[in-house]
């Protein structure tokens, strides 16, 4: 579904991504784990066109994404839940969700999808008329995920959805990811919380300073000594 080949990305003189390749197959949950500054966000930004690569191939369902305008990528069914939520703080919760459906032409279906999202996130429904800026971090994360769902995605890339959340909320967020996956959405998940990420993933890649150093089945990686030491705090 998603194929990244030999990707190189630089910010000026800083080489952030040094030739990585990865793929995500239809129906999978794949995670990309790595420490702060490893380049995870850069990979996702390059996939959804927010950053231009120096070199490499990014294909989504055989479409060359570099030839697609960044704001058209969501229309292909590829949604991005960005690091730090990026909800529209000055808009209400409902308006934020409607923003997710902004590109959609099937206006008469949007109302119904809004109800579906509110059923998955009762906490958001209670706060539907509140400004998103007044929500807690966990609620904002749910809103960012709900907004992505409103775009009817086939593939969602998520950037550290558990960042800054209490253990209870982390669990809730991962449950939501699983539910989205059960509903047929393919997921590329970026996380520092390797344990949680690996536990729900099919496969995973480990990113260290711009290079992929390990990859494989998530269940194997969970048992790998090097992973345990570096990322699982064991």
């Amino acid at each position: 579904m998603l194929r990244v080949e030999n990707l190189h990305v630089s910010y000026g003189a800083v080489k952030a991504i040094k030739g990585i390749s990865l793929k995500v197959n239809d129906g999978e949950i794949v995670s990309l784990i790595g420490a702060n500054g490893a380049g995870k966000t850069t990979v996702l930004h390059t996939i959804t066109g927010l950053v231009q690569p120096e070199d490499g191939i990014i294909e989504y369902n055989e479409i060359n994404l570099q030839a697609v305008a960044p704001n058209k990528i969501v229309t292909l069914g590829l949604a991005h839940v960005p690091e730090g939520r990026h909800v529209f703080t000055q808009m209400t919760v409902t308006e934020n969700l409607l923003m997710g459906a902004h590109y959609r032409k099937d206006r008469n279906k949007i109302e119904g999808d809004l109800e579906v999202v509110y059923e998955s996130f009762p906490r958001l429904k209670e706060r539907s008329r509140q400004f998103a800026g007044t929500l807690s971090g966990g609620e904002q994360q749910m809103l960012a995920m709900g907004r992505a769902m409103m775009s009817k995605p086939k593939l969602v890339v998520m950037d550290e959805p558990s960042m800054g959340l209490s253990p209870l909320l982390v669990k809730e967020v991962f449950n939501i990811i699983k539910t989205m996956h059960d509903n047929g959405i393919t997921v590329l998940l970026v996380e520092q919380n390797a344990k949680m990420a690996l536990s729900i993933s099919d496969r995973a890649y480990v990113l260290e300073t711009g290079k992929i150093t390990m990859s494989g089945n998530a269940s194997d990686l969970l048992l790998d000594e090097r992973i345990k030491k570096a990322y699982l705090g064991a």
């Binding site: 704001n71 960005p82 590109y103």
Partner: protein
């Protein structure tokens, strides 16, 4: 007429004049605030858009009447709106966007000042405009709507207030209720998230420029309906005061520009009526300074660090 009635009518007269002035300031302030909201730039050329709108009216009115002298004169504002929107969009495309891509905030600011001077000089260079002032045709009737308790309310004043109010209500509904209005709010808050939900950010910025600049044309109609002389620097002082209004209300905040405009208009009119017309501008700036000391982000502004 008794003394207290006279006091009341003086007050009402100041109120009416203040609302008239305030409506003009508010529409101009909206242009500053909408552009600031979406690209964080003080568009110093915005005051000159009023001048562009004014001259467009000046030349369109006789041309229009030559075609059909039954047409109402204010109809020329449609042409002025189109011209101002076009000038605003051109300034954005030719000057601001390229500088935004390459330069810093300071270069953008200097570009805006340059665009202001450029428009004024360009206007002067046009032979039909030149350096001397011109007299506008009367746009609305100056007949009194009512004459009551020594209060005079003429059609120009009444229509200015009514047009101002309807434009402001319309704009507020547009921004709050329509998809395009939502996109404008989204882009002004978070460009990255806007791209991710599929908004064409550059197109939204252009539309914002078109609307903000078009409002300057409506303001020009209202302003020159009252003050009939026009010259190439006509927009400068009005632009400056409207900018003060935008800052007073909270720059980047649409209701703030409306409120700020009305406050400035009322302060100016009451100072003129009760103290002295020569102090009116001084009071306007005094109010600005006091408000900014108490609330640096403006009346409706949120006192948080500047958002990027």
């Amino acid at each position: 007429m008794s003394g207290s009635l006279q006091t009341l009518s003086d007050f009402l007269q100041c109120l009416i004049v203040g609302l008239r002035l305030g409506s003009v300031y508010a529409l101009v302030a909206l242009g500053y605030t909408m552009v600031y909201g979406i690209i964080r730039l003080i568009n110093f050329a915005h005051g000159d858009f009023i001048m562009v709108g004014g001259y467009t009216l000046f030349f369109t009115i006789p041309a229009m009447l030559a075609v059909n002298d039954k047409l109402p004169i204010w109809l020329a504002v449609i042409v002025a709106i189109a011209v101002c929107a076009l000038v605003g969009v051109t300034v954005e495309l030719v000057a601001y966007r390229p500088v935004r891509k390459k330069g810093t905030n300071m270069t953008a600011l200097i570009t805006a000042i340059a665009m202001s001077l450029f428009l004024e000089n360009l206007a002067q260079a046009i032979p039909a405009i030149g350096p001397n002032y011109k007299i506008m045709r009367r746009m609305f009737s100056n007949k009194a709507v009512l004459n009551f308790l020594n209060i005079s309310l003429d059609w120009t004043t009444l229509l200015t207030i009514l047009i101002g109010a309807s434009v402001m209500i319309g704009l507020q509904l547009f921004v709050k209720k329509t998809k395009l209005g939502r996109a404008m709010r989204a882009v002004s808050e978070d460009k990255q998230a806007s791209v991710l939900v599929g908004i064409n950010v550059n197109r939204t910025i252009i539309i914002t420029f078109a609307i903000g600049s078009g409002l300057a044309a409506v303001a020009a109609l209202m302003y020159f309906a009252q003050y009939s002389t026009i010259m190439t620097t006509s927009g400068t002082m009005l632009g400056l005061k409207a900018f003060v209004a935008a800052v007073l209300g909270g720059i980047g905040i649409i209701p703030g520009a409306m409120l700020g405009g009305l406050v400035i208009g009322l302060v100016e009119s009451f100072t003129t009526g009760y103290i002295s017309s020569s102090l009116a501008d001084a009071f306007v700036f005094l109010i600005l300074i006091i408000v900014l000391i108490i609330k640096p982000a403006g009346i409706l502004g949120k006192n948080v660090g500047e958002k990027v």
